[in-house]
Each structure stands twice: as structure tokens, then as C-alpha cells.
């Protein structure tokens, strides 16, 4: 009967596990959200664990929307304390939060992230772009003589003779990425407006929403490829396609300068300086959101938040800036807000 005994005791152990675990609590900070903020959050978490007596926070990725969704699931130890986001929280998300009882939310801006356009280091001379060119290269339909026609441009030289006569092959972030929205608004829509196409489309559709939609529609005939994975996937595609141009985060580019060559946008070279002054047009703020109700309940949460925005970390000479974050000129105001636990 020894097997019976074994089986019974195993079942007893599993039953005991369930009882023990139902009284679980945790003593570490739990973070989820944007994969763009992930490297910064893990750098801070690592330094926090080294220098403080608290456990190292656990940082998950999964995207801004997924992170905020989990953030808004409610208050309690089995919910996350901090959501990282590469865009501001939406009103609909705040409503979802409020419905689940998450009312006091602290918004913390950690700095800015630049979005750069890069191609294979030994590839064609893609060194200078404008938003107009990107719009004309990637729009689904272009206005020609008072009618919308499918984008006829096959090569970059068709778009602008100053560009190399290479087939258009763009690798842009997929729709689940926060980067896609910035790309659509700051590059495609801006290009649509500055090239005068917006007025022409307005004349055709005479409807504002339809015009915006037509401006931001990206062609689907294979010249533009959505990348749903991370920048590593974009890099692999660029490696395989000498005439490909990819959209990357500044930090990713700065860690791969031996493989990629970056292009200027509107004549401005992307760098932490040009982005912090606002000269470089394609950048966005990075945030994290903190549940105020968890401060004082989860050990180390307040300390971690303060440490994240401290000059040692997020300052212009700190490790985050070294990795590629454009530090926030108004960091001091953020530090005060965090110290006062100011909510939205």
C-alpha cells in the first residue's frame, strides 16, 4: 500500500499548499507595462535592489495598454503597483481604473524617448528624410488632380529625386505598439499637412474626420511592413534587406551604432540634445503611473518612485540618460510632485 500512502500524502501536500498560499502577501514592488520603458525600469530596479534594503522590484513588459489594463484591475496585493507607459493614460483607462476602485493615481514623467529612422550601415544612402517624403512613400492613397489614387510610388526616388533609387521597404512598429501612434501623428499626419496633401484631401472629402483618416492610412501593398515584435526583430529585417528602412527607439539605435546608420528628419540629427530642445520632431514623453493606495502597504514603493526620478538615475548624467533616455528638463518639478504624492 506504499503507493497509496504516497498518493494520499501528495494530495495532502497539495491541499496544504492551497491553504498556505491563500494567505499570500508580497514584499516586493511589482511593475508592468511598456516595453519601451522596460529597460529603464530594470536599470533603476537593479540599482534600487543594490543600494536599498528592499527587495529588487519585479518588472514585467507587455506593452503600455496591457500594463495599464492590469494596473486598473483593482487595489490589492495581487495587482501591480506601477504601470509603465510610453503614452499618457487615456480617459477611458482612467474610467476603467475608477470603476475598479483605483482612484488616486500618481503620474510620473521620467523623460523623453526619440524615434529614429535607420537603415543598414553599408546600405544605400538613406541619410536625410523629411516627414513629407515619409507620407508620400507610405500613404495608402495620394490625392492626384482632385481624386484619391492608390500610392503609385515604387522607389524612394519616385518620392523625391534626391533619395536613392531603391524600392520602398519600410519596417514600422505594429499597431499594438505605443510607438506606432507617435509615428502616425508626428510623421505621417505631419507630412500630410506640410506637403499640402491634407488640403487637397479636404477638398475631395470635405469631411475633417475622413481627411485625418485618409492622411494616416498606411499602404498595405507590401512596401510597408508592420513589426509586431520588438526592435530586435526590426533589426533582423534590416540586416536581411539592404534597402530597408526601420523605425527604432533612440536608445536601441545607440546600442547598435555599428550596424545601423541613422537618418536626419527635416535636417535635424536625432540626439539627446536635439530631442530635449524639441528641435527633433519625433519624440514622446515616457511615464509611469503609481497607485497611491499601495504606498505604505507595499514596502519600498515610495522609495523606489523617488529613486527613479532622482538626479542620480534620471538626471542628465545618470545611467538612464547614458542608456538613451532624454532627461526631462523639468525633473525637479517631478521630484517635488513625487515627494508630495500628488495625484492626477
Amino acid at each position: 500500500m506504499s503507493f497509496m500512502k504516497l498518493a494520499t500524502s501528495a494530495l495532502a501536500i497539495s491541499a496544504a499548499t492551497v491553504t498556505i498560499a491563500s494567505a499570500q502577501s508580497r514584499d516586493n514592488v511589482q511593475v508592468a507595462g511598456s516595453s519601451t520603458v522596460l529597460p529603464y525600469a530594470s536599470i533603476v530596479a537593479e540599482a534600487f535592489g543594490e543600494n536599498f534594503d528592499f527587495p529588487t522590484p519585479v518588472v514585467e513588459s507587455g506593452g503600455s495598454s496591457a500594463g495599464l489594463k492590469r494596473f486598473c484591475e483593482g487595489v490589492g496585493e495581487n495587482t501591480v503597483d506601477i504601470a509603465n507607459a510610453s503614452r499618457p493614460i487615456k480617459d477611458s483607462e482612467r474610467e476603467a481604473c475608477a470603476a475598479a476602485g483605483v482612484t488616486d493615481i500618481m503620474e510620473v514623467r521620467i523623460g523623453y524617448d526619440g524615434i529614429v529612422f535607420a537603415s543598414q550601415f553599408d546600405g544605400p544612402e538613406f541619410t536625410a528624410f523629411t516627414q513629407d517624403q515619409w507620407y508620400k512613400a507610405l500613404a495608402a492613397e495620394l490625392p492626384v488632380d482632385g481624386a484619391m489614387v492608390a500610392n503609385p510610388n515604387k522607389t524612394w526616388a519616385d518620392v523625391d529625386p534626391s533619395l536613392p533609387a531603391e524600392d520602398i521597404m519600410a519596417f514600422i512598429p505594429g499597431t499594438k505598439h505605443g510607438t506606432r501612434e507617435v509615428f502616425e501623428v508626428n510623421v505621417i499626419e505631419a507630412g500630410c499637412e506640410s506637403s499640402g496633401a491634407m488640403e487637397e484631401i479636404m477638398a475631395i472629402t470635405s469631411d475633417e474626420d475622413a481627411t485625418t483618416e485618409a492622411c494616416m492610412a498606411i499602404r498595405t501593398d507590401g512596401a510597408s511592413v508592420d513589426i509586431d515584435g520588438d526592435y530586435t526583430e526590426t533589426l533582423a529585417r534590416i540586416d536581411a534587406n539592404p534597402n530597408g528602412v526601420g523605425v527604432f527607439g533612440l536608445a536601441f539605435y545607440e546600442n547598435n551604432t555599428d550596424k545601423l546608420k541613422v537618418a536626419t528628419m527635416g535636417g535635424v540629427e536625432p540626439s539627446t540634445e536635439t530631442i530635449s530642445t524639441g528641435e527633433y520632431p519625433v519624440s514622446r514623453p515616457l511615464f509611469f503611473y503609481v497607485k497611491k493606495a499601495h504606498i505604505g502597504v507595499i514596502p519600498g514603493l515610495k522609495e523606489f518612485t523617488e529613486f527613479f526620478v532622482s538626479d542620480d538615475m534620471a538626471g542628465p548624467d545618470g545611467p538612464l540618460a547614458e542608456y538613451g533616455l532624454v532627461s526631462d528638463p523639468e525633473l525637479a518639478a517631478t521630484q517635488t510632485a513625487v515627494a508630495d504624492e500628488a495625484t492626477m
Binding site: Q24, Q30, N51, D53, P319
Partner: protein, 439 residues
Amino acid sequence: MTKSLYTEDARTKRRNAAERRFKAYGAIAIGIAMVALVILLTSVVSQGIGAFRQTYITIDVPLPEAKLDKSGTRDMAVMSKVTTIGYAPLLRDGLVNAIAEAGIQTDLSDKEIGDLISKEAPATVRDRVLANPDLIGGTDRFTLLADGRIDGYFKGRVTMASAALDKNTSPGKLELADKLRDAGIMNVKFNWAFLTAPDASDQRPEAAGLGVAILGSLYMMIVVLVLALPIGVAASIYLEEFAPKNRWTDVIEVNIANLAAVPSIVYGILGLAIFINFMQFNQSSPLVGGMVLALMTLPTIIISTRAALKAVPPSIRDAALGVGASKMQSVFHHVLPLAAPGILTGTIIGLAQALGETAPLLLIGMVAFVRDYPEAYSSATGLFGDPSTALPVQIYNWTQRADPAFVERAQGAIITLLVFLLVMNTVAIILRRRFERRW
């Protein structure tokens, strides 16, 4: 008119040719599979083997009291105020001194020389100083990690040409690294830390290891074994030996076979809904991960256990029943021991499957950056309740990192996972060979 059987007629020739063709197809199929395997292994091993070697710098680091203990009383509260950011300059001084002592000429500034040391190193020094406050005021010899780019240079990943384009290093630094290696200050050693150290952030690929992931996978396998084996075996014994054969057991049988083919991510969704949201277990914990994987492994174990029980000849049962054993005695004394090798094999194969599974763990928060070793039991988090990662998840995680050095780490982790799987499958085959009986 007689014809020898040895002379082939046209029809025989055709049949023999068809057989030869079939054999050739088979050989080609196996050949393709072998070539694919060889290409896969060569690419993984050639890229990943570097992760098992690591560059270290051995230097004397000055530990001045003025910097590290302003109170002068070795008060822990004051000493721990000095962060790793405060320790970094001391390491740089140590390396600059070592370069001067060895008589090496270099044009690099002190700051650039400091870049040769890993960002992980100040934490190594700080931990030792806080553990032994008596060291303050003197110097001590430390073996510290070198920067990931320097390490990459010795492994051939970084070259002078790529360094010239790379803003994180420069050819000058690589030349200095060469000189340091000749002087014996820098050397490449076997990297035990890769198997024991926790994960590290994007700035320190050289420090990243699999410690937390291996521990997390081990805990999950224990949970899977403890939950899935007894439940699976009990269910199979009942279904195979005791349950009446009727419509209900048919339905159950079809469902079990179906469950074995359900995509694993579905179990993750189930785990999130039931174990985390409803039963309130901790996210990212090996307990939840193990329970989800146990559910996933159950059908595999049930199917293989039932096959093993079926393989035991009915004469054994009849003989036991014939000498007066009860039904239960015949099963537990005679049938189960004979079926045990088959059950074990099935269980080990199920465990190996669970060990390599990533998808369900995505949803329960195990795809995370975790630095602290999970404890098997702690009063705050309960049994297996500490956050952790797992081996396949760590591979997935590292392939997404920006620094190219993580490619090597990810491939190294694949080698480690393959070795674990190979060992488990070998054990399964040995068990089967040694204990299997044929009738």
C-alpha cells in the same frame, strides 16, 4: 519452359525499383532532418558557447575611509548611504593604479579607463565592504567583471572596425584591454556566474545569469510533479481498472485526448482567471506557474499511464484475483508495479514538455525582470510564492534586449535548456530500457 527464380522479369524489376526508391526517400527524409538539426545546433552552440566564458579584471581597490564612512565609527546606517554610484570612482582609481604599476602606456582619460569595468562591479565591492567593514581604510584585491564590449572583443563579437562605429566603446579601449591581458590583469575564465547569477539590466549583459530562472524552473517542476503525478495516475487507474465502460467514460476519454491538444496559452488564460484573479495567488510565482503547467501536463500523464496499464497482460490480474486478492490488491500489488516504468517515462516526457513551455507563463506574469532569488518557503509569500522567472522565459526575454551581447546570453541559455531536456529524456530512455518487461 521453366524460368529460374533468379532471373528478374519486368514486373519484379519494377517492384524492386519501387522498394529501392522508397528506401531512398526515407534516407533523404532522415538526411534532411539531420542536416536541419546539425545547422540548428551549430548555430546555437557557436553563438552561445561564449556565454560560458567571461572576462574578469583583478585589481587592488583602495577603500578610503573619507569616502566610504564619513562618521568614522563603522556605523552601518552611515556606510550604507554610500551608493554604488559612490563606489564607481574607487574602482576606476584601482584600475588606473594597476595600469601605472604595470607600466602600460595609454592615451585614454581616467574616465575612459573606468569604462573597462562592468557597471555590476561597484555592487560586488560594496557588498563585500558592508559585510566586512574592517576593510575600510586599506586596499583589497577584487576580481571584477569587465565591460560587455571588452568581453565581446576577446570572444570575437566586437572587432576594431565595429568598435570604431560603436559609441559604447572605442578601438583605444580594446587596445588597452589587449595590453591588460598581456600583463595578466585581465583574463578570460569559465563563467560559473552564468548558471548562478540572477538576470541583469540592459546596461550589464556581462553580469546576466540564469540563477533565478533555473531555480524558478526547478520549483515549478516540483509543483508539477507533486500535483500532476498523483492526480494523473489516480485518474488513469480508476478509468482503466475500475470505471464501468459506458457513455460517460467515453465522453471523459475523448475530452482527455482533446485536452492534450489544447494550445498551451489557453492554460495560461485559465491560470490568470482562476489562480490569480479568483484564488488570489501571487503573480509571477512558481506556485501558479507550476499549477498551470500541471494542468497542461495532466493529459500527457493520463494517456501514457493508461497505455502502460493496458500493456500489462490480463493474465496477471486474473492470477491475482484467482488466488483471492481483491480488485484493489490486484491493481496495487501487481499491475501498478509492472506498469511503473511506462508511467515514469510518460511523466518525465510530460515534465520535459512543461520545462520548455513559455506561452502560458506570459499571462501569469513570469516574463519579468527578477533579480532576487526566489525562496522555496517564506512566511510572507508562502510556499513557492516569491516572484521568479523560468528558463524558456529568460531566453525569450534576452532575445528582446537591445544590447547585442544578450544574443550570446540567450543562445547560452538555449544550450543550458537543451542540456536539461537531453538529461531528462536520457533518464526516461534508461528507465524504460532497464525496467520494461515484454510479454
